[in-house]
């Protein structure tokens, strides 16, 4: 199975470049929901109808030899649980698609475009860029949309815009998300209050991994909720300005750490680096916390032998399925933690 090539994170654009504000913003993602006009929505399709949708979408996309060059199609029905989980951890597909045997995903060779087929909607076009750059992500997603629309009749209504399976996505069908790394605001317990404010601006904030207010790796995701009655540009602008304020407060909070506070932080960061480079067992949750600390250390110039991109890589490789897929065998949780610790140490000391 060609899925193995996805383990090579060096080929994932957003991980290995540094876009605008990438000291705080890991990535920007745009998703466009689209549907075929003449076909029932995926939840009403039988196996052969669903296959036909996959074929039509794949043919339409590959009609553009530039965007689709070396793109891969993965059918959910052909993948193992671990492989599907890996695609989820690497943000190529949603957990909902992973549960859907009728689903498929097309991933472009530069890993910036992924097109989910037969998720909740027939099409979910996604583009990811490094840093705070949702405009670029939207431009590319919109270009893919144009390519597909050349060949496919897309469900669109004059008054309601793009028609989607769920009324929460109707209109533009756009969901813009930015992934933020907020270690100091989290440490100072300022995120909760900020989230309540953001909720009132029509945006949603969630911890990217983890439970409750505990966001593993201090990674958070902000996205728009409203899709109808506002243009794509306005939705992006609104999100950008809120993200801009959060970025400014995280930077301010980092600068404000002086004297004893700064010393304690430097100590914490250096200890975390020590643990990552020395421990023999690491759970995903633990690893994420230490990686977050080291990433902050790199951003603050405390740790000098690593680049921010190295830590982006580690965030992905610390996930439960990545290790599973690299070692290609059933492992006990203890073995997994052992292999994870070895793998991360190897990456850091390379």
């Amino acid at each position: 199975m060609a899925l193995e090539e996805l383990l090579d994170t060096s080929r994932i654009g957003w991980i290995n470049s540094t876009g605008p504000d990438s000291d705080i913003v890991i990535s920007s993602r745009v998703r466009l929901a689209r549907n075929l006009k003449d076909v029932p929505f995926p939840h009403l399709l039988n196996g052969s109808q669903a296959k036909e949708v996959v074929k039509r979408v794949y043919d339409a996309f590959t009609s553009n030899s530039v965007l689709a060059k070396d793109a891969r199609l993965y059918l959910m029905g052909d993948l193992s649980e671990t492989e599907k989980n890996l695609l989820v951890e690497m943000h190529f597909i949603s957990p909902d698609l992973a549960r859907e045997d009728k689903g498929a995903v097309i991933i472009s060779s530069d890993r910036r475009i992924s097109i989910m087929i037969n998720e909740e909607d027939h099409l979910r076009i996604q583009c990811v860029f490094s840093g705070l750059d949702p405009q670029e992500a939207y431009e590319l997603a919109s270009r893919v949309d144009d390519v597909l629309e050349e060949q496919l009749d897309i469900a669109f209504d004059e008054r309601l815009g793009y028609l989607t399976a769920c009324p929460t996505n109707v209109g533009t069908g756009i969901r813009v998300s930015v992934m933020l790394h907020l270690p100091v605001l989290t440490m100072l317990r300022q995120v909760d209050r900020m989230f309540s404010t953001i909720a009132q601006l029509g945006l949603v904030v969630r911890g990217l991994y983890g439970e409750g207010t505990e966001a593993w790796g201090n990674l958070y995701q902000i996205s728009n909720q409203i899709t109808l009655g506002k243009s794509e540009e306005d939705i992006i602008q609104n999100l950008m300005s809120v993200a801009g304020q959060i970025i400014a407060s995280e930077r301010q909070a980092r600068r404000n750490l002086k004297g004893e506070d700064r010393l304690r932080l430097e100590d914490k960061i250096s200890r975390s680096y020590g643990i990552l480079t020395n421990s023999r067992l690491l759970t995903t949750q633990e690893a994420m916390g230490y990686i977050s600390d080291v990433r902050l250390g790199v951003d603050l110039g405390i740790i000098k032998n690593l680049k921010p991109e190295d830590l982006n890589n580690l965030f992905i490789t610390a996930g439960p399925s990545y290790i599973q897929e690299v070692f290609k065998k059933d492992m006990t949780p203890l073995e997994r933690d052992l292999n994870r610790a070895n793998f991360l140490r190897g990456k850091l000391l390379k």
Partner: protein, 172 residues
């Protein structure tokens, strides 16, 4: 949205919990979220507003019971989905459902989005007339703003543009 746990405070923390591949959704207030200290790997994908079913069910409850009393529920003539079924599953069956349930959707859309009409991208190939129409709509709103701001020169320019597009629409 109220907190699932205490049913009192507003839910500001949205959790996707995955246990053995089974997903459960929880909407909690900050306090309850802190008290519930359960750890398992979970992953939030793209900030989907969740629990749509619950929302729709409560939103349409009065209307649905009204439908139940009638013998024939409203349904989509293309995919067969009935309106009560839509409120249960929170999803339409096909793009024609929007047309079939047209009379029922505006209050829900207003509640979800604050608006009931689309502004933004229009398909390139199939959107020809729609593109022009939406451009006219946009210019008309701009014209209204210009008039309100007493910018008459700009208003005159906008009016000419609108006439030009309307002629184009008439010719097509």
């Amino acid at each position: 949205m109220k907190c699932d746990e205490c049913k009192k405070r507003p839910a500001t923390v949205h959790i996707t919990k995955i246990v053995n591949g089974e997903k459960t959704l929880m909407h909690l207030c900050e306090q309850c979220a802190k008290e519930k200290n359960i750890f398992s790997v979970s992953f939030n994908f793209d900030g989907e507003p969740l629990s749509m079913q619950k929302f729709l069910a409560s939103f349409f409850e009065p209307m649905v019971s009204e439908f139940r009393e009638k013998s024939q529920p409203l349904s989509c003539n293309r995919c067969g989905l009935t309106f009560p079924r839509f409120t249960q599953i929170g999803r339409f069956g096909c793009s024609n459902c929007y047309e079939a349930f047209k009379g029922q959707l505006d209050p829900m859309l207003r509640r979800l989005h604050g608006k009931t009409y689309h502004v933004g991208k229009v398909p390139r190939r199939t959107g020809g007339r729609v593109r022009i129409k939406s451009e006219i709509e946009r210019l008309k709103r701009e014209l209204q703003e210009a008039v309100n701001a007493e910018e008459y020169e700009r208003a005159a320019q906008l009016r000419d543009k609108i006439r030009e597009l309307e002629q184009k629409l008439g010719r097509n």
